[in-house]
């Protein structure tokens, strides 16, 4: 697990004078399941295509197994790709699609036959050998694409939103299947998706990207529990993001109250972003809470309710299994575990406010709060909700 299989060193990629990737430094360990996660246009597919060799970096180096492959064409790289739209060869049947790479490599027909059958077994497509790919369902085509890419026994399998065109049920099944295949074969997977749930479920390592930059690298738990900035906090799950001030190690102040927290290492009185996950918040009677507010909207989500609570004009999203009627006055309790403190970044103030959830839009208006003095004005026009 510890060996670096792929290294991206200071990689920049420019399309028509615009930077798609700015300065990517990333290493991928042998045998890991790494996911590049981000919204469309963040550079994740560009990163994948650079590793595959379909495009070449404008600056920087790509190493595979310690060898510089920055200018090596795709057909000389030990990586294979599963394409979003499968890209199966329509003039070939299932068997010949899977055998394609093996025939190019000039393996003996016996060996090809053995490998194709092995692959059909792995992706559970026995009996489909002679079917035309155009007569298969989306899920089956996806399996053929995976088998075709794996047949060459690549060091790394690159997957570009491979489940993007499948329906929800099939996606879930294929997620498990892919994870099983990856563990069974012990091959490194680099997986591109914009679906945060998919990324958290399947990966050993998640790389969150936005605007051509890597925002955070970590295990799914790290990314979820310890987001580095407001973008990551908002993109991975739901988050209430508040302006706060770090009064001391383990002590943060927001909404005019001081809270104990688990974070340290910030400057004294440094302005920070405070993240509170909607599912961590405990609802208590109004007089028993740290803060109290009014429920302004309730949405039933199946497992839980999404309720929007107005705290002095700032609206929070709270997820609870107990129904709270609209207009109810409730209190909330926060334990140190529930509070996560982040440094201010360019993303501060853009995410994590649920005001647009309600019909009436409230400006942040909190005259009592001590922190108001250090508060940066929220750039309303840049707010990126919905």
């Amino acid at each position: 697990m510890s060996k670096h299989l792929i290294d991206l060193v200071g990689v920049r990629k420019t399309f028509d004078g615009e930077d798609a990737l700015k300065n990517i430094n990333l290493y991928i360990r042998d045998g890991e399941f790494l996911t590049l996660l981000g919204p469309s246009g963040c550079g994740k597919t560009t990163t994948l295509r650079l590793i595959a060799g379909f495009i070449l970096p404008t600056e920087g180096k790509i190493l595979i197994d310690g060898q510089d492959v920055s200018n090596v064409p795709p057909y000389k790289r030990r990586v294979n790709t599963v394409f979003q739209k499968y890209a199966l060869f329509p003039h070939l049947d299932v068997y010949d699609n899977i055998a394609f790479g093996l025939r190019i490599a000039k393996l003996s027909e016996d060996e090809i036959d053995a490998r194709v059958n092995e692959m059909l077994e792995i992706v559970s497509l026995k009996g489909f050998e002679n079917r035309r790919t155009t007569t298969l369902s989306g899920g089956q085509q996806q399996r053929v694409a995976i088998a075709r890419a794996l047949a060459n026994r690549p060091g790394v399998l690159l997957l570009d939103e491979p489940l993007g065109a499948l329906d929800l049920r099939l996606r879930k099944d294929m997620q498990n299947e892919l994870k099983r295949i990856q563990q069974q074969l012990g091959i490194t997977f680099i997986y591109v998706t914009h679906d945060q749930e998919e990324a958290l479920t399947m990966s050993d390592t998640v790389v969150v990207m936005d605007r051509g930059h890597i925002q955070q690298i970590g295990t799914p738990e790290d990314i979820y529990n310890e987001p580095k900035n407001a973008f990551v906090a908002d993109f991975i799950g739901e988050s209430n993001i508040l302006d706060g001030v770090m009064r001391d190690d383990y002590l943060v102040e927001f909404f005019g109250r001081k809270f104990k927290c688990m974070d340290k290492g910030f400057g004294k009185n440094e302005p920070v972003d405070v993240v509170i996950r909607p599912e961590d918040i405990d609802i208590v009677p109004a007089d028993a809470g740290h803060l109290s507010g009014t429920v302004t909207s309730v949405t039933f989500k199946g497992v839980h309710y999404d309720i929007i609570v107005d705290f002095k004009g700032f609206k929070w999203l709270i997820q609870t299994t107990d129904h709270q009627p609209e207009g109810a006055h409730i209190g909330i309790k926060l334990t140190p575990d529930d509070i996560h403190v982040m440094k201010k970044t360019e993303y501060s103030g853009m995410y994590g406010d649920y005001s647009s959830y309600s019909a009436e839009y409230d400006e942040i208006n909190d005259p009592d709060a001590v922190i108001g003095e250090e508060d940066e004005a929220l750039p309303q026009e840049e707010r990126d909700e919905e």
Binding site: A52, Y75, K85, P90, H91
Partner: protein, 279 residues
């Protein structure tokens, strides 16, 4: 309104096909006068097949048509690949240039080719440059745009990832072309070849300016015939030519229909998956 449409369609079809029907009927008429139907005969056809002049000329026409359509298909497909790989602006510019010969009056193309050949003949000191090769070059020239125009859309329609997938699985760019891309654009290549074949087979205007006395094609010779009263065996020849071209066109349409069905099918499967996700 609908009835009017139908009547109108029939009138158009009559205008288009009546001349051919008259010709076909005349080719089976045993009398020499077109206006009088005397009786049914196949003798015009047997005369035609025994004709020592017309048949070799038909052979000439076929040779030029086959060779020119094959060369044009080869060159045109290569050109289409190159044009496809260009940036948007350069591609549009190149296409505009390659399409001009399509709309250029044939007689202008014919005369300018004749001048070009005369010029080359003079500089190379060749006395009679006009002949088989000038004819072939001329036919390839006017066939090229048709091939480019039928191959290029196939390249644009093709899933871009197919080429990447081939490279990814170990193909060099040349292998990727022969093992994957060629199959994808084949319907366009074939229809380009068939189109060139028919254009070349019945070309008269351009051929008239670049043929030499040693190598004459059928349409050119027929033009010479029309100065004298037409022998009815010519009717038989025309009928056969018409049927040949008709068959090529039908074949082309069938191929296109099959191709469309195939791509629609593939698209449907993909979009069905997509739709279910979005709803």
């Amino acid at each position: 309104m609908r009835r009017f449409n139908r009547i109108f369609t029939i009138i158009v079809l009559i205008f288009l096909y009546v001349p051919m029907i008259v010709l076909a009927v005349a080719s089976f008429n045993s009398g020499n006068d077109i206006a009088v139907l005397k009786g049914f005969t196949l003798s015009r056809y047997s005369e035609l097949f025994r004709d020592g002049v017309l048949l070799p000329l038909l052979g000439n026409s076929l040779i030029v048509a086959v060779l020119s359509s094959l060369s044009a298909t080869l060159l045109g497909t290569m050109a289409a690949l190159g044009i496809h790989a260009m940036g948007k602006q350069l591609r549009q510019l190149t296409l505009a240039v390659t399409n001009i010969p399509l709309t250029n009056p044939e007689i202008v193309t014919g005369v300018s080719l004749a001048l070009l050949f005369a010029f080359i003949g003079q500089t190379l000191k060749i006395n009679s440059i006009l002949g088989f090769f000038t004819l072939l070059i001329a036919h390839v020239t006017f066939n090229l745009p048709y091939v480019i125009l039928s191959v290029l859309p196939k390249l644009t329609q093709m899933d871009r990832d197919l080429r990447d997938a081939a490279l990814d699985l170990g193909c060099t760019p040349i292998q990727a072309f022969f093992k994957v891309i060629l199959y994808e654009i084949m319907p366009g290549v074939i229809s380009g070849a068939l189109m060139s074949f028919t254009m070349s087979l019945d070309d008269f205007v351009i051929s008239y300016f670049v043929y030499g006395p040693n190598f004459i094609t059928l349409p050119v010779e027929i033009y010479n015939y029309t100065k004298k009263p037409l022998h009815p065996k010519i009717y038989a020849l025309f009928t056969l030519l018409f049927i040949t071209i008709l068959m090529v066109m039908v074949l082309m349409n069938l191929l296109q229909a099959r191709d469309e069905k195939r791509t629609n099918q593939a698209r449907r499967i993909f979009s069905a998956g997509r739709r279910r996700v979005t709803t």
